[in-house]
């Protein structure tokens, strides 16, 4: 009896499996068939509508087009029209006409209705569409979505507002930076990308927000964006104030804002405020301080930069070496001092940077200089490089002057002592 029950159960399972398998088999075939038909139809409609829209745009009769393009929502024609218009919108040539067509055909209204859909993905899709349509009238409806706790919705809304642009959208994002960052709703990189998409208009809003007490991560994001936008006196002052911030990320981003040659040349006092950060306990702050000072090519900080070629972090050592090289001939003494010191890491970093920045070409050039001091210093550096195993520049030099062996041999002989 028990055996019979087991057999019946197994047979039932096999029957279910066969049914499911056959179902999936035919579902695969059916789906492919339906998809083929759907996309053939979509291709046909897209090319037809594209031709119609382009012709109307060329002749300026765009207002008469909406009757031809009207279609019931979610139909193939509706989808085809939407894709054609979105492509034109992305091209950017007919943005205003396309936006007007979208509005006349009822697309924004359709997606705005779906913003209250219970399904989060349907809402996210609608937000994304409204953003792509650059429908500024939807901004008031999109802004409240930033206040929720759904990460997906918050991320898409930030991007959509970035696509639409405008001060209202920008203000809404900037005002909610602490909420978006503090609750982990939107990734920092995504926010930076969106804020940068607003262009220079983002700066005043960010500066306004920075003047208040801001979540350190949010402040770092705001400063990162500001570092990539044209800055005015207020931005520079704000960044300079944050050089003493307790959060290293904020200090580092503030340095990045200041580390542009135009800022430093207009405010010579800044180099004095940046220099102490060369001794910051956090390595990436020291790194950024070097970068900022090297942008200024500030010879006064040479001694401090020289000290940093012995830093414990190789990123800092290399950056310091690179900054010294950017200073040109006046840094030769510091280079020799470091290269004749005991710190092997410092020597390696300097030699590596000399090669990667092509500074060795300058040194080799100096071998034929009339200035004895310059020639001797260059020769000394090349000699040390050779003994440390950084011999390729010299070998290449020798090969390049193969046609004039005397010069090549002379230079090589000078350096190698042969």
């Amino acid at each position: 009896m028990q055996d019979k029950i087991i057999i019946i159960v197994i047979l039932a399972i096999i029957a279910i499996l066969v049914t499911l398998t056959v179902g999936l088999f035919f579902a695969s075939i059916l789906r492919r068939g339906l998809h083929d038909r759907k996309y053939r139809e979509l291709d046909r409609l897209r090319s037809r509508y594209r031709a119609m829209v382009l012709e109307a745009l060329a002749s300026g009769r765009i207002s008469s087009l909406w009757i031809d393009l009207s279609a019931p929502p979610a139909s193939s024609a509706w989808q085809a029209v939407e894709e054609v218009l979105l492509t034109l919108m992305t091209d950017g040539k007919h943005s205003s006409e396309t936006a007007a067509l979208f509005a006349a055909l009822g697309y924004p209204a359709f997606y705005e209705k779906r913003l209250t859909d219970r399904n989060a993905q349907a809402r996210a899709q609608s937000v994304n569409k409204l953003g792509k349509m650059k429908n500024s009238a939807s901004v008031p409806l999109l802004i409240p979505l930033l206040d929720g706790q759904n990460r997906e919705i918050a991320s898409v809304t930030v991007r959509a507002l970035g696509n639409i642009g405008g001060n209202t959208a920008l203000g809404a994002i900037v005002d909610r930076l602490p909420h978006l960052i503090g609750n982990g709703l939107v990734a920092g990189k995504a926010l930076e990308t969106t804020l940068l998409a607003f262009g220079p208009e983002a700066a005043p809003a960010l500066i306004g927000r920075l003047t208040g007490d801001l979540h350190p991560h949010a402040a770092a994001i705001a400063l990162e964006v500001l570092s990539r936008l044209p800055a005015d006196e207020r931005t520079i002052s704000l960044a300079a104030e944050r050089l003493g911030h307790e959060n290293p990320e904020v200090r580092s981003k503030a340095l990045k804002v200041l580390g542009r040659p135009e800022h430093l040349s207009s405010r010579p006092d800044l180099s004095g405020r940046i220099a102490p950060l060369l001794r910051d306990p956090v390595w990436y702050v020291r790194l950024q301080a070097i970068r900022s000072l090297s942008a200024l090519k500030c010879a006064e900080s040479m001694a401090e930069l020289g000290a940093l070629v012995s830093d414990e972090k190789w990123h800092v050592r290399n950056e310091a070496a690179r900054a010294l090289l950017l200073l040109g001939d006046c840094s030769l003494d510091f280079l020799i001092e470091a290269l004749t010191g005991r710190d092997q890491y410092a020597k390696d970093s300097i030699c590596e940077e000399i090669e990667s920045t092509n500074f060795h070409a300058l040194l080799i050039g100096h071998l034929a200089a009339n200035d004895d001091s310059l020639r001797d210093k260059s020769l000394r550096i090349l000699e040390i490089m050779y003994t440390l195993g950084f011999s390729i520049p010299l070998e290449e030099y020798r090969n390049s002057v193969h046609g004039a062996p005397q010069n090549g041999d002379k230079a090589e002989g000078q350096v190698t002592g042969l």
């Binding site: 055996d3 057999i7 197994i10 047979l11 399972i13 096999i14 499996l17 066969v18 499911l20 398998t21 999936l24 088999f25 579902a27 695969s28 075939i29 789906r31 492919r32 998809h35 993905q121 996210a124 899709q125 937000v127 994304n128 990460r151 997906e152 991320s155 898409v156 991007r159 982990g184 709703l185 939107v186 990734a187 990189k189 995504a190 930076e192 990308t193 969106t194 940068l196 998409a197 990162e224 990539r228 190789w314 390696d348 970093s349 030699c351 590596e352 090669e355 990667s356 195993g389 950084f390 011999s391 390729i392 520049p393 290449e396």
Partner: protein, 482 residues
């Protein structure tokens, strides 16, 4: 005595039946999860930030690491494919791991590289580096020549030399789809929880036609049935196995053929383990261990739309080697991180995922193999009726056919990479055929690996890469033989 033996065999048969039932229930759950997740993912793709990531100056640089060892026939194809990645900032680092053929020379000649002096900072301990090669004309390509130390050692060397915060490991016999890197990177940029690793789908390259720029010109299926079985297997494995585990945030395997990692986290965890035959899996297990121990929030995710095409073995002997190696790697990886087994400190990874892998993936082939023997023995000694025997075999085969068909259905629902009607029919057909012999042979290879592991054989078995689809001829090359 005979009655005791009969009772033992009967008891084992019931155990096999129960075990088989549990495995199938788990697979069915994973399949259901995968269906839900893939549907959601398909909708999400429509509003993903792909174009924003592509255009943003904030997108972090990535180093594509290609470790090579005696791959002269395929190396140029994979480098060119990597260099064509549609990604804003990336460097390609090729690590020649002591090749004894012309691999290095071919790369140097092709890209007119010259030797450069560069400091090698041994953050992760590796074998010695012999030289660096570079050419300003291809500024994002760096070739490192090093002493032979194995794939893990080569990857560690690439990590040491890379200056990007993320790296993507790509096998030398693989071709990346142009947007694969961008797609695999997107979750890292969208997630507010740090993503320390992310993997994409790997598909079988054999059968594809590539153009002169090594872009995919036409997707076709190979003629070799062994390759067709593997294609069905890859579709099933990637589309419902990994997607299912990913939805539970419990992914234990990312394919080393194509995976992205956060460099600093990998370096903190100690880099790739030299000596492990499946360094990719071991790395993922160790990342879980490292992050859970540190108490930091993290994600290891699988993305089902970036695709990397890789060459699959086309002979039984090579396939056997590969499968034994994979199984051996699984056992090694778990053995080396045994502290996690059943340990609540490691959350669901320690309590559910690793026990699952031990019970059903490592021991599965053993129980299946012994089960076959026992069932036949039971039948021979009259403990099992013909009806039962046939029913049991029918059930096993039909369940296998169901899973294969479900995998192909998922592919049809999602990416439809095989565009022709004949592709669909052949895949469906081979999804049925693979249950008559192929799956059983696979079980046997995994059983062999299990035995070899317990007998102390834990070395890498090499698999040939033929470069049959590229522009570089068809002569055999060889991968790592250590």
């Amino acid at each position: 005595m005979i009655s005791i033996l009969s009772a033992a065999i009967l008891g084992f048969n019931y155990f096999v039946g129960f075990y088989f039932g549990v495995v199938n229930v788990i697979y069915s759950l994973l399949l259901t999860l995968a269906l839900v997740v893939i549907f959601r993912h398909l909708k999400r793709i429509k509003y993903s930030a792909l174009s924003e990531v592509h255009d943003s100056t904030q997108t972090p640089p990535v180093a594509i690491l290609i470790p090579v060892h005696n791959e002269e026939e395929v190396v140029l194809r994979s480098i060119r494919s990597a260099l064509q990645a549609d990604y804003p900032f990336f460097e390609v680092i090729v690590i020649n791991d002591g090749s004894s053929d012309n691999t290095l020379k071919r790369v140097i000649d092709e890209f007119r590289l010259r030797r450069i002096d560069r400091i090698y900072r041994r953050t992760l301990v590796t074998k010695s580096v012999k030289g660096f090669y570079y050419n300003l004309e291809t500024p994002n390509l760096l070739v490192i020549d090093k002493e032979k130390g194995g794939k893990a050692d080569a990857l560690n060397c690439g990590i040491n030399a890379s200056r990007s915060p993320y790296f993507c490991s790509v096998d030398a016999d693989s071709v990346l789809e142009k947007d694969a890197l961008l797609r695999v990177m997107t979750p890292l940029l969208e997630s507010s929880v740090p993503v320390v690793a992310s993997g994409g789908v790997v598909r079988v390259l054999n059968g594809l036609r590539l153009n002169e720029e090594n872009e995919i010109e036409e997707i076709d299926l190979p003629q070799n049935p062994l390759l067709l079985f593997q294609i069905v297997e890859y579709i099933r494995g990637f589309l419902f196995g990994r997607v299912g585990w990913d939805s539970l945030n419990a992914l234990l395997i990312l394919s080393g053929t194509f995976s992205l990692f956060h460099k600093a986290t990998v370096a903190d965890a100690g880099g790739f383990k030299v000596g492990n035959v499946s360094e990719d899996m071991e790395m993922v297990v160790r990342l879980h261990r490292h992050m859970r121990k540190a108490g930091k929030p993290y994600r290891i995710c699988f993305v089902s739309d970036p695709i990397c095409w890789t060459e699959a073995p086309d002979t039984f002997s090579m396939l056997a080697r590969q499968r034994r190696r994979w199984h051996l790697g699984l056992m090694q990886s778990i053995a080396e991180n045994r502290e996690m087994i059943g340990n609540p400190r490691f959350g669901r990874i320690g309590l559910i995922v690793i026990p699952y892998y031990i019970l059903f993936e490592i021991l599965g082939p053993v129980i299946e193999f012994v089960g076959y023997v026992c069932v036949l023995l039971s039948y021979a000694v009259g403990l099992l009726s013909v009806d039962f025997l046939l029913l049991f075999i029918t059930l096993a085969i039909f369940y296998g056919v169901f899973l294969s068909t479900a995998g192909i259905f998922l592919e049809e629902l999602t990416f439809r990479r095989y565009p022709r009607w004949r592709h669909l029919f052949r895949l469906l057909l081979y999804g049925v055929f693979e249950n008559f012999g192929y799956r059983q042979i696979n079980t046997f290879w995994r059983f062999q690996a299990f035995l070899q592991y317990w007998l102390g054989r834990r070395s890498w078995e090499y698999v040939e890469n033929k470069g049959t689809n590229g522009t570089n001829g068809t002569k055999d090359g060889a991968a790592w033989t250590m």
